[in-house]
């Protein structure tokens, strides 16, 4: 009896969507090759049996060429015969290329059924597939599906029972393509269609001149949209809620606890001019929820909304082509832009996404650059909220400094690290327009992730900070680092605490700068340093797990070095 089902297929054919449909477990899916870099497991019920379903990263063949592909192929190889089955997911709009892996799987003797996905997208592209014929030619069950809407997935389950391995001769690569040619010729009919508007757009975005203009427009529009949605949510929903409904509630808590008491210090924090100030009080029930819900969450929603649209339409690989040249100077290739963009949301998924890069050298460079120069949404939201009130000039300045650091560090790393980086080889997917419900689901999933992961840490963190401040436990650390902070960076010595807290959460760290009454320049330096220096603890752990302790220490040394240099330069050199 089957106990385990592997989902395998080329990159970007919708494996994760099928997985979510089969198991009900939500995973992130997008329209670019390499969305899935981790193995996700879930369960489905077939009759009375409980079957484990494993979503594997996409691969073009059983000879892996990146870390993510290797993981997929190895796991499949280790599977026990007789207990596991394979669902090979195929993109119906690109039958020919997908069949290469299918034939390899059949030749290896894996018990297999084929899920012919994206069947809804074939008609208007002039593709007609005779799936009965395909089934006959391949000798395995072929089930047409459209996983995004759920069509056909039920049949997939029914046919799962009759799965059995075939015995086939192994073909050479050329022989395999010949056989595919014969299969495709008889099972697929193409009718000529005029170029649609979508195809013209697909074309325009991969040509140098038009592509450049479109990319500038897209990036500009995305940025504007994130700000518009983020600010809109803050001023229309979150701020009114906190000031009109939440404030009276905590004021009552404050009067019950009596200002000055230990518990009041912990829960409500300091009163500013006799009142609760959500930005400055630093209490577990005041500043902590205000930072997370009214300053950061709106931007999380806005950022992931815009990112999800770009991901699902399939624009990101096109950006990769345009940036390939620049990224080559940094020892990376164009595809590295995708981990970088994900890193802007949170460095952790960004660093995980570097698994799609081929070599260890590239992964180290990309990881270091992300953790040094890519500020996450929580940090950016706080910079916008606080530094933005001084002037937009400083906000732009932070980005300019970070961008320069990424470029300089990248060039240096590329020069000094041995080895070479492989070149870009990337499939450019067609544009697709996912149903709104799919988009909403993904957005909701990401927001939920943020709330469950960030909020407990922030509440605990603020409690911890208050305890340490109350018992003067920071004085020791402040004493040690004060000369550096004061002498080199021109910051007050209390900023040490904020920089140390940056290891815990970047947003709380910026929040801790507020009561210090910094000048615009000091604030600018402190915010930039928070971005460059030590990554937060979650990022730290991920780098350790992904690259090992040695590389983590190397990356950390680079970050500390860069912080010292940049902090000093900003203080003495550029800004006077």
């Amino acid at each position: 009896m089957i106990k385990r089902v592997f989902l395998i297929g080329n990159p970007n054919v919708g494996k994760s969507v099928v997985f979510s449909r089969l198991t009900g477990v939500q995973v992130i899916s997008s329209n670019y090759p390499g969305t899935t870099v981790e193995i996700t497991k879930g369960y489905l019920k077939l009759g009375d049996e409980k079957i484990e379903v494993i979503d594997l990263p996409g691969t073009y063949s059983l000879e892996p060429s990146s870390k993510a592909e290797e993981v997929a192929v190895n796991l499949l190889r280790e599977s026990l015969p007789g207990e596991s089955a394979v669902i090979n997911i195929i993109d119906a709009t690109n039958l020919e290329r997908n069949l290469f892996l299918t034939l390899q799987l059949i030749e290896q003797g894996y018990p297999l059924i084929i899920c012919l996905n994206m069947c809804d997208d074939t008609e208007h592209r002039g593709i007609h597939i005779d799936f009965k014929k395909l089934e006959e030619l391949l000798g395995v069950a072929v089930i047409p599906t459209c996983a995004v809407t759920g069509v056909g997935v039920k049949f997939l389950l029914e046919r799962l029972k009759e799965i059995k391995p075939l015995v086939e001769n192994k073909l050479t690569h050329e022989g395999r393509w010949q056989r595919i040619g014969a299969i495709v010729d008889s099972a697929q009919k193409l009718t000529h269609r005029h170029h649609s508007f979508r195809e013209m757009l697909e074309d325009a975005t991969i040509r140098p001149l038009s592509g450049l203009f479109i990319s500038i427009a897209v990036v500009y529009a995305s940025f504007k949209m994130v700000r518009f949605i983020g600010e809109g949510l803050i001023s229309r929903i979150f701020d009114p809620f906190f000031f009109n409904y939440y404030q009276p509630l905590v004021e009552r808590v404050s009067s019950v606890l009596a200002p000055g008491s230990f518990l009041h210090h912990l829960v409500v924090g300091e009163l500013i001019n006799g009142k609760i100030d959500f930005k400055q009080s630093m209490g577990v029930l005041t500043t902590a929820p205000y930072i997370e819900f009214a300053m950061v969450l709106p931007y999380i929603i806005a950022f992931y909304f815009v990112l999800s649209i770009l991901e699902d339409i399939g624009y990101l690989p096109r950006l990769a082509i345009l940036l390939d040249n620049l990224l080559h100077r940094l020892g990376l290739h164009g595809f590295a832009i995708i981990p970088v963009l994900l890193g802007f949301g949170c460095n952790v998924p960004g660093i995980l996404a570097t698994r799609t890069l081929e070599s260890k050298r590239e992964r180290f460079i990309a990881t270091t650059l992300i953790s040094i120069g890519v500020p996450c949404v929580p940090l950016q939201a706080m910079i916008f909220g606080l530094l933005g009130s001084f002037s937009g000039f400083y906000v732009g300045g932070v980005y300019l400094v970070l961008f320069s650091i990424v470029i300089i560090t990248g060039i240096l790393l590329n020069y000094f690290i041995k080895g070479y980086s492989p070149e870009l080889l990337l499939e450019i997917p067609p544009y697709r327009f996912p149903p709104i419900a799919t988009l909403a689901q993904k957005l909701f999933f990401r927001i939920k992730g943020f709330i469950f992961e960030a909020v407990p840490i922030v509440l605990l963190g603020v409690a911890l900070i208050n305890l340490m401040l109350y018992f003067h436990l920071f004085d020791f650390v402040t004493g040690i680092f004060a000369p550096v902070i004061q002498g080199l960076f021109g910051l007050p010595k209390d900023a040490v605490v904020a920089l140390v807290i940056g290891f815990l959460r970047k947003d709380v760290a910026v929040g801790m700068l507020i009561p210090l009454g910094l000048s615009a320049k000091q604030f600018f330096i402190a915010a930039t340093l928070l971005a460059i220096s030590f990554p937060c603890v979650a990022t730290f752990v991920v780098i350790w797990k992904e690259l090992g302790l040695k590389e983590l220490l190397k990356a950390t040394a680079i970050m500390i070095g860069a912080s010292l240099i940049v902090g000093t330069l900003l203080n003495f050199g550029i800004l006077h």
């Binding site: 073009y60 290329r97 991969i206 040249n325």
Partner: protein, 69 residues
């Protein structure tokens, strides 16, 4: 080779691993491919093979030896 020009792959002038990688993505001797665009300063090249559009680094594209029609 100019934009929108077609050509037949003669050979892949590279190591085994790159040959395999190309092979699995649908670039192999005898296959007809179309060049779509290229980017300045030894930038990437985009090609079409079958129904897939691929972007390749300049050096990688140079490894595909074509017979231009």
């Amino acid at each position: 080779m100019k934009e929108n020009q077609k050509g037949k792959v003669l050979e892949i002038a590279g190591g085994n691993s790159i040959e395999n990688k190309f092979m699995s993505m649908g670039i192999y001797p005898g296959r007809e491919i179309t060049k779509l665009s290229h980017f300045a300063l030894r930038g990437p090249v985009t090609i079409k093979t079958g129904r897939s559009v691929l972007a390749l680094g300049h050096g990688m594209a140079a490894k595909i030896i074509l017979e231009v029609e």
